[in-house]
């Protein structure tokens, strides 16, 4: 099932399927690219950032950016 990154549940794992235009370069430096496994750690309240784990590293992403990343959630 494909969904936007912030829609993932805590501890859920997925694979990045699509990153909306123009954003690829911005998140690539943080290790996020298509094909990469990603795990949802926390979502901060009040439209705060989401924290994910990529390559054993925690990375926080602004909600606006996270919404442009589409992941395939693993069952």
């Amino acid at each position: 099932m494909r969904e936007k990154l912030p829609e993932m549940r805590y501890e859920e794992k997925g694979v990045v399927k699509m990153i909306e235009g123009g954003l690829q370069e911005r998140v690539a430096g943080m290790g996020i690219r298509v094909g990469k496994e990603i795990k949802m750690l926390t979502k901060q309240p009040m439209k705060g950032p989401v924290v994910v784990i990529v390559d054993d590293t925690r990375t926080s992403l602004g909600l606006k950016i996270a919404e442009k990343i589409i992941v395939e959630v693993k069952k």
Partner: protein
């Protein structure tokens, strides 16, 4: 000759810097910002070399002031040699920055720093293959203990600019970035 030390934040750039330069250090404030960088000197075979500890950056697409300074410093030093410093346990993201710098045509060499941490995490890196694929010197280092720093200095002269297209070919031609 000028050497820029570049890499992600907290990969040991300053530790490498201290190893290369000793205590002879000038700390400066990059004009117009509050981001500090350090500059020092080392002597190699009678030649004075300026070493600059560039603020850590994740990519060459700046997201904050410190990254802006890092990118600007790189752009202003067209003839500098870049030593890319990578956290060996998180090698992939570090290589992204390395390739970005190589894409801009700088002579680059790679220090796989925090090698001991990678070993602890059971991360096994085929250094020889990396050397072949990238076509630049690749040296495992542990900056806090000084391991590999001697080799790093010896290989500075071998740092070179390599076209990224060639690297992609040698890596098997797989371009996953869907650009």
């Amino acid at each position: 000759m000028k050497i820029l030390l570049m890499g992600h934040p907290n990969v040991g750039k300053s530790a490498v810097f201290n190893r290369l330069t000793g205590a002879n250090v000038i700390e400066s404030n990059y004009p117009g910002t509050t981001v500090d960088y350090t500059k020092g000197y080392m002597r190699m075979r009678g030649e004075d070399i300026t070493v600059v500890d560039v603020p850590g950056t994740f990519s060459l697409e700046p997201k904050d002031k410190a990254e802006e300074v890092a990118v600007k410093m790189l752009e202003e030093e067209r003839d500098a040699v870049v030593i890319c410093i990578i956290d060996s346990s998180k090698i992939e993201r570090g290589l992204y920055l390395t390739l970005e710098i190589m894409e801009r045509g700088y002579p680059v060499m790679l220090a796989l720093n925090m090698w001991d941490v990678a070993e602890d995490k059971n991360v096994d890196i085929d250094v020889e293959k990396l050397r072949k694929v990238l076509g630049i010197p690749v040296i495992p280092t542990v900056a806090i203990s000084g391991e590999g720093i001697g080799e790093l200095i010896r290989k500075i002269k071998e740092a070179r600019a390599v076209e990224v297209d060639k690297i992609i070919k040698k890596a098997g031609g797989i371009d996953e970035t869907n650009r």
